[in-house]
């Protein structure tokens, strides 16, 4: 059964979310949001509702792409670990674009069309978001333009290919198409790109033409809101309340989408009282464990309003990693606040230990996990070895890794 509502955790947070603000230089970024974002998304960003109705059209689209996604008992992994800990995972990789990103791509493209947009523009890191937007745009009959971080554009050729199959225009970022892209290339011709820079390029490109809307893949509140469809389903599917809930964090949308409905219940005293929540990030972009909680731009160029979040700084360029989806300098404001308050625990892992986990999971469960999701798997394995027998872990397997050839080539050598 597909949920009728998305869940807005902002109204249940232990402290209020500080509002977005404008810097003191240049034009108002808050006012800019009106020009670039579909209007309904802005409303959702500030809604007073705890439960936001999912439009019937979007629920139908969710059904068409295979929601609800399955929740599996990780029988093979449990057997391999032999720790007596029961493990469940929600498999968002079952969606046709291979990751959870489609949950918000469909909603955002739907709202863009309601605003009479003829084209949606976005950024992508590993390509999961770009692929989801390309697919959603194809289903809904609208053009998609995607700025993809250059290091991923070179390394994830299959995702670029399939975005083009869906009809999208894909550009490596930094690109020659925008002022910010050209400046970045001038400063560093071998610039690997960053998600923050790709966001800036996508926004600039949106403003360059008529009938375009910008749709973001993570961090902003409405993205997290749409992703809560994962957790709303999971609550119904889980046969028992977990002791530990785990997900990986790039900007925070998959972890938040999976865990927020449960965290919300815990904050309201309506269940999950003994559940811990663990967010896992890459050592390449450790904002949750090493970032500063401050106002910062979500994008490198500072075109968006500043939000209060755990951040490594908007000009931080993470080193290239195979988990490109985790190469982002900040974490969603609500997730940042929950981490600061100690309600969400955070941990970071390096690439090698994550690869080992991916290999173990693939062989035990038969599913090739995405490099990003493999960070969560690493934590699941470590925690399963620490927790008492009979404990229960639930995690979000946010995507499959069938298009992450570069990552798996390194694993098998």
């Amino acid at each position: 059964m597909i949920p009728h509502y998305w869940y807005n955790i902002n109204v249940d947070l232990p402290k209020p979310l500080p509002p977005p603000i404008d810097p003191y230089d240049g034009d108002s970024r808050i006012a800019l949001l009106m020009r670039i974002l579909p209007s309904e998304l802005l409303d959702q960003e500030f809604t007073a509702l705890r439960y936001v109705p999912i439009p019937d059209e979007v629920r139908e689209l969710y059904a068409r792409i295979g929601r609800p996604t399955p929740l599996f008992r990780a029988v093979g992994l449990e057997r391999a670990l032999n720790t007596g800990v029961r493990i469940y995972y929600k498999f968002e990789g079952a969606l046709p674009a291979g990751s959870h990103k489609l949950n918000t791509a469909l909603a955002q493209v739907y709202y863009a069309i309601k605003d009479k947009a003829r084209e949606v523009v976005t950024e992508t890191g590993a390509g999961q978001w770009g692929l989801a937007v390309s697919l959603a745009s194809s289903l809904l009959g609208i053009k998609a333009t995607v700025f993809m971080t250059r290091s991923s554009y070179m390394g994830k050729k299959n995702r670029v290919l399939f975005m083009r199959v869906y009809g999208a225009d894909v550009h490596p970022s930094p690109s020659e198409l925008t002022k910010y892209g050209r400046e970045a290339l001038r400063a560093r011709p071998d610039h690997p790109g960053s998600l923050g820079l790709a966001i800036t390029e996508a926004i600039e490109y949106t403003l360059m033409g008529e009938g375009r809307k910008y749709i973001p893949g993570s961090v902003l509140g409405f993205v997290v809101l749409h992703q809560t469809v994962i957790g709303m389903e999971a609550i119904k599917q889980l046969p028992e309340e977990p002791d530990l809930v785990i997900g990986c964090v790039g900007g925070g949308s998959n972890f938040s989408g999976f865990s927020f409905p449960m965290i919300g219940a815990k904050l309201r005293g309506e269940g999950f009282e003994r559940t811990r929540f663990l967010a896992v990030e890459s050592e390449a972009a450790p904002k949750l464990t090493k970032g500063e909680y401050t106002y910062d731009f979500p994008d490198t160029g500072g075109l968006l309003p500043m939000v209060k979040m755990l951040t490594l700084g908007h000009d931080f360029v993470p080193p290239p990693t195979h988990a490109a989806g985790l190469r982002y300098h900040g974490a969603a404001p609500a997730l940042s606040l929950l981490t600061r308050e100690g309600i969400v625990e955070a941990r970071s892992y390096g690439q090698d230990e994550v690869m080992e986990a991916a290999r173990l999971f693939a062989r035990a469960e038969g599913i090739i996990p995405a490099p990003e999701s493999s960070h969560a798997i690493r934590a699941v394995i470590d925690e399963a070895r620490r927790l008492p027998r009979g404990s229960v872990i639930a995690f979000n397997l946010s995507g499959h890794g069938l298009l992450d050839q570069d990552f798996y080539e390194r694993i098998v050598g």
Binding site: P14, P16, P20, I21, D22, I30, S39, A48, L49
Partner: protein, 239 residues
Amino acid sequence: MEIRKPGLGAYITATYPNKVLFLNAVKCLSEVSDFLEVGIPTLNPKYDGPVIRKTHFAAELKGLDAINVARYGIIPTILMGYIEDYANRLELVAQVASEVGASSVLFPDLLFEHIDRLEDYVVTMRNYGLRPSFFVASNTPHRLVNLLVKYEPLFMYLGLYAATGIKLPLYIERNIREVRRLVDGTTLVAGFAINSPEMVRLVINAGADAVVVGTALVDKLGNGEECRRFMMELRGGLA
């Protein structure tokens, strides 16, 4: 002094554009408004939109000196400042507010960034014979709003948009209704980007007890007659 319902309030930044015109504006607005909000000029008006920010930067005097140029209280007057500026000087703000005839001091950043000072703030207000008042956003946690109501504030101020003076495509009626439900009988004041009698009517009909106009008033402050006419026009929305 309670806020009149339905009511129309005016926001002005103290000593903007200068001391003389500010004093004229206080006098004029006291005749055509039901309450007054007076901004304490700050160097960091971070939650404000570009127009109100300019008034802070251009104010002739800064900080509490700017407040002290006038006496208020013909109509309920609330000082507005950033608690960030007065983290260790709450008593001083309350003392000045009390001396100039204000009823409360509203700190928009109290709940968002200094919630650990909440009890302090309430106690300080009461010690100086003032009432607390609270600024909330549409997505402020419901449980917190319920808690704030128990402090019996002079009013709860709902910021309708993300920043003063910047209108976004939000369903503000729905947000007002939701917050109204949470605050129950507490006076609910709404503001940000109020600029027409139609908008005043919409906000009042959705459940607010009073509205505040600020940004739309800024360019009329130098001309008493224009300012009066604009406020009277907005009052049409209260009927």
